[in-house]
Assembly symmetry: C2
Homo-oligomer: 213 residues x 2
């Protein structure tokens, strides 16, 4: 007991809870394998046509293991969207801007999202189409909640009008983004340049549809 514990601690450099850490890492690795297998299958044969059984086979794990990590098939879509948002926000935050304006943050977000979607068009087509039809993207858009604090910040700094409902503004940006992306994936080949279109959409939202007096 003592010996094995000290071996573990030496190997992992985490004397307090080495077994838990390895288990956590192992679990996370397994989860990523299952996730990657699912995304592969969705791209190859579509979300609707893919079963949890097939995902288990592709990942070479038991069916119960798949359910253990992703209790519903739509959980893969939630995970995909979550990873996309994280990467786009990470790109925004990495810039370490000294003058963080809402305008700049949202533009950066759209450029990064467009870049990811263009780099992985087949994956984006398969997963985003499924997300629109099988998750509550419009009724509960997490992206809207994630934009909201930046909008509140812009209201504090005076960039955005104080009377605007930040949650609603976040909703409008998120769903307009989904709409442009949906049109981009609905036609093959891509019907327009995604970055250009997303930035034009953002211009309308930031400046408004009516001329300024």
């Amino acid at each position: 007991m003592d010996t094995s514990a000290s071996l573990r601690s030496a190997a992992h450099d985490a004397p307090e809870a080495p077994a838990t850490d390895r288990r956590t890492r192992h679990r996370e690795r397994r989860r990523q394998e299952v996730y990657a297998a699912a995304v592969e299958l969705f791209v190859e044969q579509g979300f609707e046509n893919t079963t949890m059984e097939q995902i288990a086979q592709r990942a070479d794990v038991a069916r119960a293991t798949v359910f253990n990590h992703f209790e519903r098939k739509t959980a893969f879509l939630d995970e995909w969207m979550s990873q996309r948002r994280k990467r786009a926000f990470a790109a925004v935050l990495k810039e370490n801007l000294t003058d963080w304006s809402l305008d700049r943050i949202l533009r950066r977000y759209m450029i990064e999202s467009a870049r990811m979607s263009e780099e992985t068009r087949a994956e984006t087509v398969a997963l985003m189409t499924a997300a629109v039809h099988s998750t509550d993207l419009l009724a509960h858009p997490v992206l809207a909640d994630e934009f909201e604090p930046y909008i509140v910040e812009a209201q504090k700094s005076g960039e955005a009008p104080a009377q605007m409902k930040a949650g609603q503004a976040g909703l409008v940006v998120a769903t307009s983004y989904f709409a442009v992306l949906s049109q981009w994936i609905a036609a093959d080949p891509a019907p327009f340049d995604l970055t250009t279109e997303l930035l034009a959409m953002l211009d309308i939202l930031l400046s408004g549809m009516l001329k300024r007096p």
Copy 2:
């Protein structure tokens, strides 16, 4: 033959093609009965759980008749949305405004849509939820196309900026409307006053998210 033709023409006041007209009217009446039966069933038991067979039974017609009028179950959703749009635009046009501004047209449209949705909440919940998940609402929103000419008109009159893409502005209005409506139907009882929320959303779109200099 002659007698029956003249009776028909007297009764229907359409001497040129009375038989065709009656057939057309009959067909339209039948179509409306099938449509009404379908909507009833969607509200009672949900869109997913309703079959074309059940719709035929409820409308007391043959299954082939249902398919004759609506070749896919989602065609009922297209019809429902089409009727909603027609009624909302009819309310807008009825006003016969002398100074038709885009601002006024869109506000009137939102007020009328909110009124219809509130009057028929159960129907709106059932049909709109199904439309979001089973039709290409985001990728091909007809509502966006129907807003577009009003936006072009506003650009001609100088109300809206000329460089704005009218199609994109229409898309933004249509999908923001779908998003607010989706949130309103996702919680029971209704989580907010729909008219207030739609008009606040429209304010953001018309004035923009950033302060005017």
